[in-house]
């Protein structure tokens, strides 16, 4: 049988084994070192978004459960905060090591519950999770040298609410600095991705972490609202949508609670006509299709210099035809499933709006699985600043392409958003990079790269993308009484 070129280069399926992870049929809340049922006895299911298969049943925490978790954290606080920093740090080092040991298991679990490609959970999420704990472990006994005074004090009980796009990584971003600085925590994972946080509870158990220092309450938005409003909480940290962030800011107004928010974005990825086109294409793809575009700092607005537009779009479309969309557990998959039916509906509706408002829609030919939540990589050309898809965060694999002529126009368009989380710059001219970087109102600027993260590197937004920084020395401040 003769092979044509296309079939000669097709991939055979290369699925990662899910035998490495053992998901129990049901999970309780992790409060005071033990799993327990919710007081009201309510449960909800969590699905694999790639297949709609039910993975497990999880307890729905209500106000009474949240109260028990906060009281457990309060009880644990005096001893935990009084531990010598070096001892606290050793617990965090233990956690980091156990996360490394169990990283394959947790990567498969994350991919099952979230729908992201195993290549990403294995090569990005899990390594960053362990690294984050390793990094903050080292701060625990060095806080006096961190620039927050000779004896910076923890705040008390931290109430933390995290999103579904990077479930375990967002947990690490929240819990590692909180524990290193001597706080105790009550964390609520997202409704659609509770499992890795519950597995993390087991990591804490293996590490011998004292009871009550970390408490995990699963549930929907009402659980998060109860946690944020609880009087026993001294610190609220939230990552998620700007709309919910606003609501939280109103809730904590007039209280003693310290607040940090990491919210939405509409990042501009700016490509000048002297940019290395192939590298820029890779950066654009990573910027908007990494994690199916469900990334707050996604480069969802491509600003391309007019003279490069046609060449860049040709190269970009060529590249998109090679993206492999499908089974997230397949090691060759580039783009996995959308996390939930609700999110898929939102992406679908916004894409329709893009068409209705006159932008030109394009997707590569790709076959989507019959079950599960899927959305083909999509780009819109002919987008103007007035279009909804240029203004609203889509949080999906949808790129809006706009053009500019001068650097000033690029800056004006990039900054023309209430958000200010991320931006990208592609040019070979060093002085232009620095001039642009200085004028972009965004917390993270990637030049000739995109979507890079590191525990040492502060991350967070300007304007309505929130306030406070996570990562690095800056990340300590959110959990210290300064």
């Amino acid at each position: 049988m003769a092979h044509d070129n296309a079939s000669a280069f097709t991939y055979a399926p290369a699925p990662e084994s899910r035998a490495v992870v053992d998901i129990a049929p049901s999970y309780g809340l992790f409060i005071d070192g033990e799993f327990r049922e919710a007081a009201g006895g309510k449960v909800f299911t969590t699905l694999s978004p790639a297949t709609e298969e039910v993975l497990s049943e999880v307890a729905q925490a209500e106000a009474e459960d949240v109260d028990a978790a906060v009281r457990a954290a309060r009880t644990a606080f005096p001893a935990w905060s009084a531990l010598p920093g070096a001892e606290r740090g050793k617990y965090l080092f233990r956690i980091a090591r156990i996360l490394q040991e169990r990283s394959r298991e947790l990567a498969v679990l994350e991919t099952l519950d979230n729908g992201k490609p195993i290549r990403e959970s294995r090569d990005a999420d899990l390594p960053l999770v362990a690294a984050h704990f390793f990094y903050y472990a080292g701060w625990a006994d060095k806080l006096a040298h961190a620039g927050f005074g000779p004896d910076p004090r923890p705040l008390g009980v931290a109430g933390q609410v995290i999103p579904w796009n990077f479930p375990l990584l967002m947990l690490a971003w929240k819990i590692a600095p909180a524990l290193a600085t001597g706080n105790t925590v009550v964390l609520k994972p997202a409704e659609t991705t509770p499992l890795s946080a519950l597995f993390f509870a087991d990591v804490c158990r293996q590490a011998g972490l004292p009871r009550g220092v970390v408490n995990i309450v699963t549930g929907d938005g009402s659980t998060g609202a109860a946690l944020v409003a609880h009087e026993g909480v001294d610190k609220v940290a939230f990552t998620g949508s700007t709309a919910v962030g606003r609501e939280i800011a109103r809730t904590v107004a007039g209280t003693r609670k310290k607040l940090t928010l990491e919210l939405g974005g509409k990042g501009a990825n700016i490509v000048f006509d002297d940019a290395p086109v192939d590298q820029a294409v890779e950066g654009i793809v990573s910027g908007i299709f990494f994690n199916q575009g469900q990334v707050c700092c996604a480069g969802s607005r491509l600003l391309v210099q007019e003279s490069l537009h046609d060449e860049l779009l040709d190269a970009l479309k060529r590249r998109l035809t090679t993206l492999r969309v499908g089974d997230p557990l397949d090691k060759n998959t580039d783009v996995g499933a959308i996390n939930s039916a609700e999110q898929l509906a939102r992406i679908t509706a916004l894409a329709r709006t893009g068409e209705a408002e006159g932008a030109e829609r394009w997707s590569p030919a790709c076959e989507l699985p019959d079950s599960g939540y899927w959305f083909a990589p999509t780009l819109f050309t002919g987008v103007t600043q007035a279009h909804t898809i240029a203004r609203d965060e889509i949080f999906g694999p949808v790129l809006s392409v706009l053009t500019f002529r001068t650097p000033d126009e690029a800056v004006a368009k990039a900054n023309n958003t209430p958000y200010g989380l991320s931006a990208g710059i592609w040019t070979e001219k060093g002085s232009r990079i620095l001039a642009m970087a200085a004028r972009l109102r965004a917390g993270v600027v990637w030049a000739n790269t995109f979507n890079k993260f590191d525990p040492t590197s502060p991350f967070g937004g300007y304007k309505e993308s929130g306030f406070g920084r996570e990562g690095g020395r800056h990340g300590l401040e959110a959990y210290l009484d300064v």
Binding site: G149, G254, A447, S457, G460
Partner: protein, 295 residues
């Protein structure tokens, strides 16, 4: 021979580098500690507040883009100008706050010294608050602080001059621009400070000064979509809560009031840091290969 009749000053607002009356035409009586009449101060309106925000936004690009060295010199110039007007400010603070002449003079001196203190911070805060991040990969990675933008400041009700300077100077030294609401009961030092700022090379619009009711002016400022941060030092607990709720609309950075703040204590860098954003820039470093200098 009759005694010479003093020339009284008409106190005015300070918006965009000019001294308008309130667009509303309103004034209110400012009295000394014993209830004696001192002056009619403008009773600024919501429209004045909005005009002040426009002026502050317009000034932001230039002021935040100025070199740190220049901003430091401008703040130092404010101290120089104040030093020459110690007598005037001492008299105003004494009258408005009911302090003895000696205590008022001490407050004015401390305020002048505070300008000098913050002037020196302009080109140091970036090294304290920023730095290189040792990321695990071939990337240059640098975090630098930047001003958050337009800051609304409700000046402390007490300590009408030292408190005022202690909240204003840390906001502008890093490149923010400010809409300042003076102490309601003792606004005269703030309005006179505007005259000093106007002759100290502070560009118009960098500081805008309003006098009037904190609640009336705080509401439009807290809700304003083009204000990036609000310092609630001069709000009581109830007003502070209301304004913090309004500020959530566009996720302003909020500095809550800290009752019992000692304005004479070493302020530390906190007020500057609270009004700064951190920007982190990444760039690949590439590689020159394995061979390198043995040194």
């Amino acid at each position: 021979m009759s005694e010479r009749l003093a020339v009284l000053k008409t106190y005015k607002l300070f918006i965009g580098g000019t001294f308008p009356r309130s667009e509303s035409g309103r004034v209110y009586q400012v009295t000394d500690a014993k209830g004696g009449w001192l002056a009619n101060a403008p009773l600024a309106s919501r429209k004045d507040a909005r005009d002040a925000v426009v002026a502050a936004r317009k000034a932001f690009g230039g002021w935040s883009g100025a070199t740190a060295y220049l901003r430091g010199q401008v703040l130092y110039r404010v101290a120089e100008m104040l030093e020459g007007r110690r007598g005037q400010f001492t008299a105003e603070v004494a009258a408005g706050s009911g302090l003895s002449k000696a205590k008022a003079a001490a407050e004015v001196d401390a305020a002048i010294d505070r300008w000098v203190w913050y002037a020196g911070w302009s080109d140091k805060v970036a090294q304290v608050a920023g730095g290189a991040n040792p990321v695990a990969g071939p990337y240059f990675n640098l975090s630098t602080p930047e001003p958050t933008g337009v800051v609304a400041v409700l000046a402390p009700r007490e300590s009408a001059f030292l408190g005022l300077v202690s909240v204003l100077a840390p906001a502008i030294v890093t490149g923010n621009t400010v809409v300042l609401v003076a102490s309601e009961s003792a606004p005269l030092p703030a309005l006179s400070l505007a005259e000093v700022l106007a002759t100290s090379d502070v560009p118009g619009g960098v500081v805008n000064v309003l006098s009037g009711r904190a609640a009336e002016l705080g509401a439009p400022l807290a809700a304003h979509r083009d204000v990036n941060a609000i310092d609630l030092s001069g709000a009581d607990a109830e007003l502070a809560r209301e304004l913090e709720v309004a500020a959530a609309d566009n996720l302003k950075r909020v500095l809550r009031p800290r009752p019992g703040t000692s304005w004479t204590a070493d302020p530390g860098p906190e007020r500057m840091l609270a009004l700064l954003e951190t920007k982190t820039v990444w760039h690949p470093t590439g590689s020159l290969g394995a061979s390198g200098s043995a040194y």
